[in-house]
């Protein structure tokens, strides 16, 4: 096994072409007059739903109306009134019957409605994937224009796991018919705090 490492590296060194320089970082010309509106449009195109709210009370009211009598977990202390307590350190398999998980994202991206979420915002990595419905809270000011801006924000931050999530889980593997809820959440609600 150690031999393979040395052999592969030796063959690469022997065969790789003369050094070709890394290009300068790309200058983007994509620009949105209203990134929040663009984010909302794209999110709805990919099967998600954006909800503007004034404060956490607004989120709680929305949840009480739209997700009554369900198993709800949240990583946001502000939403403890509508979510289960003491769920954080269970075996991740036990979240299989969570109806709604509400977590926070660092920021959203206007060009593709993706939300950047690292594991400190999930408590457990499985949470945003195993729940039946996912809700994410972001601040309106935290919507950047493109993925390039996103990686400027992420910079050299350290995380064990991070992910861009854009809309609910989906598949079109059967005759290109789009179906929401392949394995992960069947729906995604994004609360935008003004």
């Amino acid at each position: 096994m150690t031999n393979s490492r040395a052999e592969i590296l030796a063959r690469i060194l022997q065969n790789q072409p003369e050094l070709s320089p890394l290009p300068a970082d790309l200058v983007t010309v994509t620009h949105y007059d209203n990134p929040i509106e663009n984010f909302k449009t794209i999110l709805s195109n990919i099967g998600g739903l954006a909800v503007n709210v004034l404060d956490y009370q607004g989120i709680q009211d929305y949840i009480k109306t739209h997700f009554p009598d369900q198993r709800i977990v949240s990583t946001l202390a502000e939403l403890s009134a509508v979510s289960e307590q003491g769920w954080e350190n269970l075996d991740p398999h036990s979240y299989e019957n969570v109806d709604l998980a509400i977590i926070r994202a660092h920021f959203g991206v206007a060009e593709n409605a993706a939300l950047w979420i690292t594991e400190d915002l999930m408590h457990q990595r499985a949470v945003p994937f195993i729940c039946q419905q996912l809700a994410v809270v972001i601040n309106a000011k935290d919507i950047v224009e493109t993925l390039h801006d996103a990686y400027v924000n992420i910079a050299d931050s350290v995380y064990g796991f991070g992910t861009f999530i854009a809309g609910p889980s989906k598949t079109a593997d059967i005759e290109q018919s789009l179906v929401l809820g392949a394995h992960g959440p069947k729906g995604m609600t994004v609360f935008i705090l003004d």
Binding site: L19, L22, A114, T163, D173, E175
Partner: protein, 459 residues
């Protein structure tokens, strides 16, 4: 599926027996191609993005040794166990050993074309390990005991009624039920049960970042994440060419990948795995399997820039009408046809000829691989090395003989025109490979040479 001793043209004939299905296949893929165009046109700097991606990949190939060492060092610091595999056999043995050490004999796998290339499922099955593919399309072809026919849309060749039959047989759905929403829900239930009971998960890798040691896996279904975050052991398998230098290069590649593939602005999940979660084991296998040989071929090395979006397949007039299985290799279509001869020039000698050289593949490639030029170059290499298909080789020899002497050429032309006019059955038959796929032209009265002598020379 038994594809032994059949080449692309014979396998295409099989696919083309059902003309209605060919039309449907063609239209479905063209629909995906049209979505790609719409997405690409929505980005004003699309062409600069392609150029940037191409240059980053050129840099990667020219500095691959250093980047791999840097990646390995960082991945190890992150707590990931890194393995190196010279070929498919070693890759499969490494996977098997990891499973054996953990006492695991059942695992789940999300999409990984590398494991298809290495025939991992077959190897593990022969060693008593059960593998369940979790990507819906891959699960469908697995139930049908077929390989994927497309790298992004594995069961694009299947009609929903056939999928309904498979699910009825294997998952107990009602007979005759073929509604995609219903079938997807049935698969969700079946696979969720699998996710929560398997202790090991395999994923592929879309990009691996040298500067941080993290790797990125993109899915729409969420199956890679469901598998990896619930399993005690996560094994990620990647070809050595998947390295990119810096984290912010991901901005370029993630903007291109899914727009080129399906026309979506990004996959639902673009997951960055850097460290195992507490108590979890994370393994990463770096696989060569012919890639360093391809790197040694100046005319073909930049095929290693491929990010597996499949845009070249969706646009290819041959792929759309011959189906993925006609390529008898894990990666079908134009890109597969320039990758496969590197692995086995004899077995895949037919593939570079499975193209019209129209160049559409090169035009849509997000990393600017000159695919159609490489197809043309492979043809020359294959003929020179003596691997050309026998019938083609004889035809070329006859052509060489005919064209080598003006007298023979003149007489052959005359004879040809006479036969086509007076005895058309001698050319309009199955022995004539040209006629097999085309109508023969109307016979001219005279050759250009004869016409020229009569009309121009005497002026």
């Amino acid at each position: 599926m038994n594809t032994a001793f059949k080449d692309h043209s014979e396998l295409s004939d099989l696919f083309n027996k059902d003309e209605a299905r060919v039309d449907w296949h063609d239209e479905t893929l063209w629909f995906v191609r049209a979505k790609r165009d719409k997405a690409a046109h929505g980005i004003p700097e699309w062409e600069s993005l392609r150029e940037a991606a191409s240059q980053i990949k050129n840099n990667v190939l020219s500095n691959l040794q250093d980047y791999l060492v840097e990646f390995e060092e960082n991945a190890k610091k992150n707590g990931v166990t890194v393995h190196w595999a010279a070929d498919a056999a070693e890759h499969n043995q490494i996977v098997h050993k990891i499973l054996k050490d953990q006492g695991v004999n059942r695992l789940i796998k999300s999409k990984s074309m590398l494991t298809e290339e290495c025939h991992l499922n077959e190897y593990l099955k022969n060693n008593g390990v059960e593998v369940i593919d979790t990507d819906l399309g891959e699960r469908i072809v697995q139930l049908a005991e077929e390989p994927p026919s497309h790298i992004v849309l594995p069961c694009i060749h299947k009609k929903k009624e056939e999928i309904g039959d498979l699910f009825h047989e294997h998952l107990g759905t009602p007979a005759g039920m073929s509604d995609p929403v219903f079938l997807t829900a049935a698969a969700r239930k079946h696979l969720r049960e699998t996710f929560v009971t398997r202790k090991a998960a395999i994923t592929g890798v879309n990009f691996a970042v040298a500067e941080t040691g993290e790797f990125v896996v993109c899915t729409n279904e969420g199956n890679a994440d469901m598998g990896a975050h619930l399993a005690d052991v996560h094994i990620a398998c990647m070809g050595i060419e998947k390295i990119i230098p810096k984290r912010n290069n991901l901005g370029v590649f993630l903007r291109l990948l899914t727009r080129s593939a399906t026309g979506q602005p990004i996959t639902t999940y673009s997951s960055h795995f850097r460290k195992p979660r507490p108590g979890q084991q994370m393994h990463l296998i770096l696989v060569d399997n012919g890639r360093t040989t391809q790197l040694s071929r100046p005319d073909f090395r930049n095929s290693l820039k491929c990010i597996r979006c499949a845009a070249c397949m969706n646009t290819c007039p041959v792929y759309r009408r011959s189906g993925g299985h006609s390529y008898h290799t894990a990666i079908a279509g134009p890109i597969g046809s320039i990758l496969a001869p590197n692995l086995d020039m004899k077995e895949y000698a037919d593939l570079p000829f499975a193209s019209t050289l129209c160049g559409s593949c090169s035009n849509v490639c997000p990393v600017k691989i000159n695919i159609h030029e490489q197809l043309y170059k492979w043809r020359q290499v294959i003929v020179k090395e003596g691997y050309a298909p026998a019938k083609k080789a004889i035809a070329m020899k006859v052509m060489e003989f005919t064209l080598s002497s003006p007298l023979i050429y003149k007489n052959a032309g005359k004879a040809g025109r006479w036969f086509m006019k007076h005895a058309p059955f001698t050319v309009n038959n199955k022995l004539n490979l040209w006629y097999d796929h085309r109508e023969m032209p109307e016979v001219p009265k005279e050759s250009f040479g004869e016409w020229y002598n009569k009309n121009v020379k005497n002026d």
